[in-house]
């Protein structure tokens, strides 16, 4: 019998997972780290430091401003050079704390020993406090502050905790490698979440295209009660929260509702590892695994990277020749965004940096729709992207509501599959934007 997968739509893009067998390397320290105070959904954190302050690795730089916000810690030790608005990856000015790196001195409170601490002594309330103090946000890309997600609203009951090890974006292998190398940490992290959520069993969902990760996780979960591995059939976008829930449990999150409404919580494996480190090792979230790959990367690799490291530093590491690079993508090729600034920093959400050669950097020319229906087959939400595109072109935003454009998860499957190369995702995004604006 074939493994489980989601039932509506989906595509099979070329995997390009060329770094799957490359162990995570320490990227080392940049000369200067640019640490944004907003690396999450919500309000920017309030800055606590000023020019000239000495900071250590793990020092709190900015404090969460309200519930929907997250703490930001220093990823390096050294001196704060300035606190000002700097051009980010997309060319917009973002508030960043610039730290000149001097040595590598960590806060004493952080447990740097390699031992894995299995015993969970803290209470659920204390665990959530630890997660909040560590500035943990959803590292799969959404950047939603984790403490909110782990606090179950009154009257709701969680039945399933799904640890998302799908990593369905082509090229990216950061989660894959993390599962291979930090399997036990992730499993203890899952146990911690079991305790917080008051449930007995966590499911680590991994795509079948990651045999190494599956083998390691299966071996270690044997000695743990309450954490299981579920192997999934590879299909894009299985890592999308609602699609993964449907694939694992058969439950559909109703349109406009949250996973918790169907008794599910999904956490990315990177986030779970960060939770382990925060709760058991007292380590805030200031570094993450980043895949640096693409056809313009001579030596594509997986790196453990300090937040605030400029992309250009990593590009040098993989011997990317700046003259050859046509496009730099933060994230994966399906949903990632192309950067305008080669010095833009890695954040808590940067799963990958992809370097594409010039001839892979252009969008193909749009031609006439041939009504092939491939976008309808591909859409994991069951939308009709061709119809949305034509309504957007006509400016008929009222009609668009009936097309459920607001349910679009922006996975890009429609635009990927379209043989006429119509930028269907752009039309869907524009439709969502206009519809929200008119409300």
């Amino acid at each position: 019998m074939s493994n489980k997968t989601f039932h509506i739509g989906g595509i099979h893009p070329d995997k390009h997972k060329i770094t799957t067998n490359k162990p995570i390397e320490d990227a080392g320290l940049p000369e200067i780290a640019y640490i944004p105070v907003k690396q999450h959904i919500g309000s920017p954190a309030k800055i606590l430091v000023s020019k000239g302050d000495k900071v250590k690795v793990g020092t709190l730089l900015a404090d969460a401003d309200g519930i929907v916000s997250a703490d930001v810690h220093s990823s390096v030790s050294g001196e704060v050079l300035k606190v000002e608005e700097i051009e980010g990856e997309f060319g917009y000015l973002e508030q960043m704390i610039t730290v000149k790196v001097e040595g590598d001195e960590w806060e004493e409170s952080i447990d740097r020993s390699p031992d894995i601490i299995k015993e969970i002594t803290l209470s659920p309330e204390e665990i959530i406090a630890k997660i909040r103090e560590a500035g943990i946000v959803g590292m799969g890309g959404a950047g939603y502050p984790t403490p909110i997600k782990t606090t179950i609203p009154e009257g709701k009951k969680v039945e399933y905790l799904i640890i998302n090890g799908i990593e369905c974006e082509p090229y990216l292998t950061a989660d894959d490698r993390l599962m291979v190398e930090k399997a036990e940490q992730i499993i203890v992290g899952a146990k911690i979440l079991n305790k917080v959520l008051g449930i007995q069993n966590a499911i680590i969902a991994v795509d079948e295209n990651k045999p190494n990760a599956i083998e390691v996780l299966r071996k270690i979960t044997r000695s743990y009660v309450g954490v299981n591995v579920q192997v999934m059939q590879t299909k894009y976008p299985q890592g999308a929260e609602k699609q993964l829930i449907e694939a694992v449990t058969g439950r559909e999150v109703p349109s406009g509702k949250l996973p918790v409404d169907v008794g599910c919580i999904v956490q990315n494996v990177g986030t779970v590892n960060a939770i382990y480190e925060a709760v058991q090792k007292n380590k805030p979230l200031f570094e993450r695994v980043v895949t640096v790959s693409g056809d313009a990367a001579e030596n594509p690799s997986n790196f453990m990277v300090r937040v605030g490291t400029p992309a250009s530093y990593l590009i040098n590491k993989v011997h990317g020749n700046p003259a050859e690079i046509g496009k730099i993508i933060f994230g994966g090729p399906m949903m990632g965004t192309s950067a305008v600034n080669i010095n833009a920093p890695i954040t808590k959400l940067s799963s990958g940096i992809l370097l594409f050669k010039d001839d892979h950097s252009f969008k193909p020319e749009e031609t006439a729709c041939i009504r092939c229906g491939k976008c309808v087959d591909a859409c994991p939400v069951g939308l009709r992207p061709f119809a949305i595109a034509s309504q957007v072109r006509d400016g008929d935003y009222h009609e668009m509501k009936q097309l459920h454009v607001l349910d679009c998860i922006e996975c890009g499957s429609c635009a990927y599959i379209c043989p006429a190369r119509i930028p269907l995702l752009d039309y869907c995004k524009l439709g969502k934007y206009e519809l929200k604006k008119s409300k």
């Binding site: 192309s338 041939i370 599959i417």
Partner: protein, 330 residues
């Protein structure tokens, strides 16, 4: 200099041109069969139709619409091939030119070009010729294997033509040749039978179908449901005391059913967008094909069945909108 663009940053290797190229490749076995069976006349008909369709599309874009010609996407080649496959191999050249003009200029470009036409252009051309030149369109050269320079063409009836007349007056049976002229299954499967040049060899068409499935150009649904519907209905009629006319295997192997089900009822532009709609469309084609073959004055009904169902596509699309994730499930 960095380029920026919106996501996604990669595309499926399949584009409009590659799809059309795959359809052309899938149609090649049937061309080989046609030349083996009907001689080089078949090749002449095919080349004329393809050249004419491409030329008409080019000229329409260039001089009528004053836009960049769309002939590069190869869809006019597909139309030309399909039109030719629906003609007898002794069709006069000037009639092929008229058919190509109607197919491309009226059937396709008048609606706005690729993707916007309501009816299958090749079938529009074919039906126009069928109504305008009924004699030429129904005089079928007899198969003459490996006689390439088949100049002295002898004509005979098609399988469906024979079947159409067997329950009529005995004189009519004599006229077109009786049951003894019916080909056996093996002959029909390989294509050693009278008919339009591209429709006769089931084997060649099935090879093309396998190629299209492998290349993911079409799904199996439309051909499967179309052919199954014909098989089921004629099967039920046959089991209920029907005569040889409705013998289901002959029904599938004869006439244009396989060509139509695999290559014309699967035309993207003129069929429904959703899987559910495509199945409704295919079943409708099957029902109409049987009705026309059994009860109309024509022996063959695939062209008309597909064209009639083409007209229902907007309605089918309207009633088969896919269910949106997270809505309306019990």
């Amino acid at each position: 200099m960095l380029k920026i663009s919106t996501a996604p940053h990669m595309n499926s290797p399949q584009d409009t041109r590659s799809i059309m190229r795959d359809v052309v490749i899938a149609l090649m076995p049937a061309l080989v069969a046609a030349v083996l069976i009907f001689g080089l006349n078949a090749l002449t008909v095919v080349l004329t139709a393809v050249a004419a369709c491409v030329a008409f599309e080019y000229l329409t874009c260039r001089y009528l619409l004053k836009s960049t010609p769309t002939t590069g996407n190869l869809s006019a080649v597909v139309t030309g091939l399909l039109l030719a496959y629906n003609l007898p191999s002794n069709m006069p050249i000037w009639m092929i030119l008229i058919g190509s003009f109607v197919a491309i200029v009226i059937g396709k470009m008048a609606f706005g070009g690729i993707g916007k036409n309501v009816f299958n252009p090749a079938l529009v051309g074919r039906v126009f010729l069928f109504i305008s030149f009924p004699v030429q369109m129904t005089s079928w050269p007899k198969p003459d294997f490996l006689n390439f320079l088949n100049t002295d063409v002898e004509t005979g009836a098609t399988t469906l033509g024979i079947l159409k007349h067997i329950d009529a007056e005995s004189s009519a049976t004599k006229l077109v040749g009786g049951l003894e002229n019916l080909p056996d299954y093996g002959q029909m499967f390989l294509g050693y039978t009278g008919g339009c040049l591209g429709e006769v060899s089931a084997l060649a068409l099935l090879i093309g179908f396998a190629y299209l499935l492998w290349r993911r150009v079409i799904g199996w649904h439309i051909p499967f449901y179309y052919i199954s519907t014909v098989f089921l209905i004629t099967g039920i009629m046959w089991l209920n005391g029907g005569n040889i006319q409705v013998e289901p295997i002959t029904q599938i192997l004869s006439g244009g059913l396989l060509l139509g089900a695999i290559f014309m009822a699967t035309d993207y532009a003129t069929t429904p967008m959703s899987r559910k709609g495509q199945i409704v469309f295919a079943i409708g084609c099957g029902i109409l094909t049987v009705i026309i073959r059994r009860w109309s004055v024509y022996p063959e009904g695939v062209s008309f069945a597909i064209l009639i169902m083409n007209a229902f596509v907007p309605l089918i699309d309207y009633f088969t909108i896919p269910r949106v994730f997270g809505t309306g499930r019990k």
